[in-house]
Amino acid sequence: MKPAATAHPHNPWLAHTVRIVNIASAAPGVFMCDLVFEDPAAAGEYSYLPGQFNMLYLPGLGEIAISISGDPDARACVAHTIREAGNVTRALSQLPVGASIGLRGPFGSHWPVEQCRGRDIVLVAGGIGLAPLRPVVCHLLTHRDEFGDLTLIIGAREPAGLLYPSEYEAWRAHGIDVQVTVDRADCSWSGKIGMVTNVLDRIPLRDAGQPVLMTCGPEVMMWYTVQLALGRGMRPESLFVSLERNMNCAIGLCGHCQFGPEFLCKDGPIFRYDRVASILKVDDL
């Protein structure tokens, strides 16, 4: 018996106690939740890469996988943006500041930010899909000079569903071309109406073979985004998608999150498109 040399040294089932330091509504049915570690040693050891996720644990109710939506360089707290979907998220949304919960993480693959230095980057986010891309945005802002043209396309069903709208101006000021579009809106909305692909279709690409595209949102949105990008001449190996399945253990041992040959918890959730292209459109896989 030979445990893999790279194996994680701690008991992977052990959660850390964390405390809610900030909890606030972000959009209808979506809330933000910032957590700090009770144990300073655990806080010191903890670091994550953009796109990774944590398992948040409410004893008695269960655990859920939530992507980290904060700035990876800001170490004071760990930020999450959470959609109320089931028992755990609903109960979490009702907890007060100061409540303690459990956290295991970070887990999973990350967006290829390091490999993108010097390149143009296009980010395409749909709805809650902006949450796991926000750490990328934060990183790009901090290291703006190291990247080429940066475009962020944000889509939502309606204006109220847009995440972090108060930050868009700052992002623009730091040199990110933020383009926002909604599926439907009333007359108070002066922005774009339509799908993210409509916007993606029109953005200028200096050299289609060069930029990296990262997308997160509903699977069907990502599918059309990727097809359009390919159509515009972007290379399959430069496209990255974030997939979702139910995660139970987050450590590749329970089998729940399998998607073809992939365990979404440890091989994903972020994949280079060409790795998953052949299984993306298979029904009920």
């Binding site: 893999a4 194996a7 008991n11 850390h16 041992l253 329970c254 729940h256 009920d284």
Partner: protein, 384 residues
Amino acid sequence: MQSPLFLARVQLDHLIRTLAEDGYQVVGPTVDQEAIVYDEISSAADLPVGWTDIQEPGKYRLQRRDDEAYFGYVVGPHSWKKYLFPPVTLVASADRTAAGWQLSTPETEPPRYAFLGVRACELAAIRIQDRVFLEGPFIDPTYQRRRAAAFVVAVNCTQAAATCFCTSMNTGPRCTAEFDLALTEIADGFLLEVGSNAGQGIAARLGTQRATAEQLEQGCAARQQAVDQIRKQMDTTGIRDLLMNNLRDPQWEEVAKRCLSCTNCTLVCPTCFCSSVAEVPDMTGDHVDRERRWDSCFNIDFSYMNGSPARNSIQSRYRQWMTHKLATWQDQFGSSGCVGCGRCITWCPVGIDLTEEVAAMRKSVETMANSSTVVSPGQEERES
């Protein structure tokens, strides 16, 4: 490996006692619930002396042998995974305190099991679960502790069931490695092979003799009998691509007409490792245990996500099981997930035969390829 020893029939009890003296809880085959199951044993008398099993798809029956063999059966409804990866395990606990939740993981001493009667296909299955639980980026502590503490007495098969196909999967019937001791049952006793230092330590205390040429000959013949009796075969040629390139084949629909999605095949399978963690609060809710329980990809709840199951049909669940076992397991863990033990065939209530399903898939794919009206999956994708 040194030359085999001979352990007299009456000395088998001595082996069990010696293991017990060394602090092992000996588990082995025993007759219970009209089957040969694995359970704690205290003497050779607990073994299924003079019993055998008759197996076919969807059917298992105990039958009297005309001799008093200890290991004259094949494999039953249980597998050793119930000891290494128990059906229910405590993985973590939470206690409410004034300072918030106190979270912990159990640090209990693992039971030290001596497995008596592990067949070659089962050794291969344990090896496969080692890769899952010990050799990935995360190690499962429960499995690790139990596995490290276990002593393995393998037994070479001297007969095969109609559902056995280990020779197709290259996992048996001969036990070649990964054991501490291995037995081959012959007329008056057992040939005993030593596979480890721990095994040597036990063997030295058993009063064995060097096996005679005649005894070795008997052992060879007995093991050859098992090889000769294996009738079932699975053609594994290109099986990964056969399954993964034909995820939309109509054959999946055919098997779904018979499949009950009842989970039996996955739970008798010695390599299947799917589980779910359940919250088990006490009356006050101040203490919560997190229990990992065996689960199955055939359970409709298993893929539940965003309000509905991702695999919302029997067809899609059967496809998940078969493609995982025989195809994507190779991508994930570098080997097939199937060891050819035949349990999924015997214990399927409607007798679905994995080997026949592979053959049916080959046939269906060929038929589709020969039919000019059919669009290949690749084409579909480009057109959509």
